[in-house]
Symmetry: D2
Subunit: 344 residues, 4 copies
Amino acid sequence: MIRFDCDYVEGAHPSILEELTRSNLEQTAGYGEDPYCAAARGKIQAACRAPLAAVHFLVGGTQANATVIASILRPHQGVLCAATGHINVHETGAVEATGHKVLGLPHKDGKITAAQVEEAVRNHYADSAFEHIVQPGMVYISHPTEFGTLYSLEELTALSEVCRRHHLPLFLDGARLGYGLAAGDVQLPDLARLCDVFYIGGTKCGALFGEAVVITDPAINQDFRYHIKQRGGMLAKGRLLGIQFDALFTEDRYTAITAGAVRQAARIREKLQSRGVPMLIDSPTNQLFPILSHAQRGALEERFVLSHWQRVDENHDAMRICTSWATREENVEKLLAAIEGMPE
Amino acid sequence: MIRFDCDYVEGAHPSILEELTRSNLEQTAGYGEDPYCAAARGKIQAACRAPLAAVHFLVGGTQANATVIASILRPHQGVLCAATGHINVHETGAVEATGHKVLGLPHKDGKITAAQVEEAVRNHYADSAFEHIVQPGMVYISHPTEFGTLYSLEELTALSEVCRRHHLPLFLDGARLGYGLAAGDVQLPDLARLCDVFYIGGTKCGALFGEAVVITDPAINQDFRYHIKQRGGMLAKGRLLGIQFDALFTEDRYTAITAGAVRQAARIREKLQSRGVPMLIDSPTNQLFPILSHAQRGALEERFVLSHWQRVDENHDAMRICTSWATREENVEKLLAAIEGMPE
Amino acid sequence: MIRFDCDYVEGAHPSILEELTRSNLEQTAGYGEDPYCAAARGKIQAACRAPLAAVHFLVGGTQANATVIASILRPHQGVLCAATGHINVHETGAVEATGHKVLGLPHKDGKITAAQVEEAVRNHYADSAFEHIVQPGMVYISHPTEFGTLYSLEELTALSEVCRRHHLPLFLDGARLGYGLAAGDVQLPDLARLCDVFYIGGTKCGALFGEAVVITDPAINQDFRYHIKQRGGMLAKGRLLGIQFDALFTEDRYTAITAGAVRQAARIREKLQSRGVPMLIDSPTNQLFPILSHAQRGALEERFVLSHWQRVDENHDAMRICTSWATREENVEKLLAAIEGMPE
Amino acid sequence: MIRFDCDYVEGAHPSILEELTRSNLEQTAGYGEDPYCAAARGKIQAACRAPLAAVHFLVGGTQANATVIASILRPHQGVLCAATGHINVHETGAVEATGHKVLGLPHKDGKITAAQVEEAVRNHYADSAFEHIVQPGMVYISHPTEFGTLYSLEELTALSEVCRRHHLPLFLDGARLGYGLAAGDVQLPDLARLCDVFYIGGTKCGALFGEAVVITDPAINQDFRYHIKQRGGMLAKGRLLGIQFDALFTEDRYTAITAGAVRQAARIREKLQSRGVPMLIDSPTNQLFPILSHAQRGALEERFVLSHWQRVDENHDAMRICTSWATREENVEKLLAAIEGMPE
């Protein structure tokens, strides 16, 4: 079986393993204070054109989300996000476990708008019982979203403006950021300029594991390392993360390998569309959500592992097909052939 | 101005103040271990026909909700409730502050159904990523609900059955329970039989303050007093609560005084209906939700304080009118006259 | 049996019950926004000579402690206090339940010093692994302490200075403050000047229940009402607290009635000393800690309830004897006689 | 400079990197449900002679501690441990952040005894105010301890017995377990028999990162994967942990490589003793705590990085010297020579 069900079925870009192997018996200080972390930090600051930004390396996404959010909010505050946001549905209540309510807003293709944030804040303070209601304390978005969709630069700029007007830190979850950079018009310097904190996903974009949290607001960065330690994200051998991000941010590798995945996804999308397959959502990144008949699904699942996304009707399911930096050309060819050959 | 905006604008039933005054200089042990608490406990057990039920006296509703819920759930579990439930909207995230997600379900007039609970549990375990999702760990309902509506005995029985089948403790918030007992077919022995834990509201039903938490499941009662202390609900002079509930459960006072409020509300409802005023929700208890034109609202608000509930359209608002055990006949007469005289 | 075991065995000062009864059927707004709370606030501000201080009324001490502390600290911070502090030993981990470590320091008679705070802060930042250690974020003291002892004005001034130098809010738990004001040289305006937040205990000093939290630092007061609600301390009928503190701060009643208790304690202390009874701790307030032989203890416990404090040796126990605002002259006379008559 | 300051300055045992590289482009399911995790699980169960034990792979020690403890305790319970325990001093309050107090007991060389646990439990329930005090809910020990010391099989058996008598789960932190297995008489099957949950440290014992949590009590294992996810410890590419522990538990590698470190430490200890250097603590594992004069310290620190442990007097410091599985023979030789040559 060939897996197209998600973007973390393989290991890491080979350059990472080479570098881990090469450096293996070097001795370094722990907890992210080694030269590899310093080098990776410098390359990320450069890529973001944000020489003063703080960069911290955490192990995984759920941890990064909970750590950032808990470090920002006071106890009576919650985090605004799309109701479908990862923190609201797929992290086993990690944010609530730190004491905070996730304030889900209706979404469109996984996205929320500046106007919604504006309205949520206004409504909060307009309610005479506002002190009995969780106060909006920050905004969380993901880019790409759960549905593979992207904020345009214009949309992100508008969100940033409303957040700053209301003193709400804007936090962007970039677990799949590489695929977003490849497919959209928002680039790293935009994120550094418009967000207060965001992270550059490693786990799903070429690393073995790890997320690089970039903090542009010094107030948020204050004491942040205590929070990393408290939430279990401070790796003793911190250099493992430095080495990985150093490798990914060398020779533009991060954007190059994710762009490849987006191209492969585009080929699959075209083939599906040529067969008249509708899409649940129009996603420009590495995730596709075709609506397949049971017969079509059965045909593809003979040789490929896809991910079941949701039931559409009694004869159709929306499936998820993911490519990744590691997707092999030959496997894409096989999938294209299978799509070509599947029933109407 | 005469207040009809909520049911806690006056003090307590006079018998309570008399009893507090009479006993004032008696010396008793603290923390709920005095003879007054014991007496009140006995009367509540008798009224519930549940001689083995545990009865604890807590200071207020938000505290009772958070204390009960946090004592029951394990960290990865959440509490199912109507999306409009008090714990989900009007307690400043008190439940989340104990680490748990509130799992809001769509409501009908503030109520949820056995079928919804069944479906929520099934959906949870049917999801292949269920371990990434907060596990339903208990069910919270309120009776009367936020909208003054009631569960029928049949509905409550069905909820209880589905909860027991799935080992989900059923917790009923009875902040306004007196008004529910007066207006519906569910009585205290039913609650003791069908719920695992519930509380008998004092604050809004004749006491100065206080809620009597009744626990029928011994496993939930295990160590419950530690939780009361930890969440700040263990009154040093615990007898203050015992004295109040003792007074309320003497000579059927609790049901008698709340029944009076329900009768007054019925008179107001009839008058509103006679004027053709539609109701946002059809509530049989002490809360009414008439939809008034701006002109009507203005007319009433010259002499009465009502509560604004929600905007309906550009010319109409849904208002809340509350009676209580303390509502005076003469004030109701004045309100009836004002309704009679307000514009169409 | 006559109780001298603690200072919350009776109800409230009669003026409070009179006022509750008189106002009982008045209608007021809820949640502390009524004229009685406003009046009490004004009297407390005047007594503290702090017209800009915020005053909030909470139900009890454990709740006041947890609410204040959780509102101030960020997640990686803890609260410095005497290892014997109430929050560290007798609140069932209420502070930890909000996510924060209590950083216990060695105590002398329940007290800590400015030098200890200074040292704790220095040691924290001097440790190369300081980010792996809970950061001191505020200081908690009680006055009187668990042992009935008091900070002198000089000691409190020194503590305040070190706290301000290190930006550590100083929080004073005044659950028994009245007895401290009566017995020491620290007065309310000193507290308002030297602390960032403190509370004036009602429960043990003449009220039925309630603590008046005084916040002199506007940054701490920001959004504090949300925290009160979230932690279950916002009484629907908030006026109950306003009425009580209004009564206690009328005609200097608060200090007058607690001074009486301190005088009665002094009489008992003298009698014990005249019989050669040593004291575990030399407390000037309403709590005494005599070391009694088993024979002496037995003699007194025939007619009086005392509190067992700790075992001293196989023949002696330290007991606690408390007076309160409600202690009757005649009962003190009986106790004096019993002490006079007890064995050597 | 040659580092002897801690046991995580290098990468991983070469077999791990080889296996990561070999398997890199294989496609597997995520979240620990891949064949590598299954294989590693089987080898660990075999090594523990506990075929029914559950084995979970978590990323790091702080996370493993907080996840296990939070999954076991109810809100009013705390964890008994040595006051010097890692969870009490070096995890930035990670346990408190989950709502629980760490109940520190006086230690002897980092260890606690069965008698102390017995006494703590007795004292708790003997206190009349026990409900106002955090209830002991489990016991945490580390093996080796922070001081490199070990529990004997007899001591561990006694602890296990007292824990079972009082229904307190016994949790053993084995962050450095390999060095303990090599130096003491407690072996893996003993741990599986005597503890309810323990972990086999990877980070400090040959892996890049990772700890294998072994749970022998099915009640504790119930829903444990939800907790891993909630606390951020569920690695998307879970196989990274499986591959590492599979390699470590192949051909007895785990015990072989840690035994080497213990032998090197023994050589250094002998040399120090031959120079008359006293030890702060007599540790049989890979950590040594020599008390060096400033002159001696200065001499060694010219070429070696040691860790400062504590000040002893104005002329002496206790230092920590660590070996690890990666310590090179040649570097040990250099250190021995330097010790030989340092001043008296």
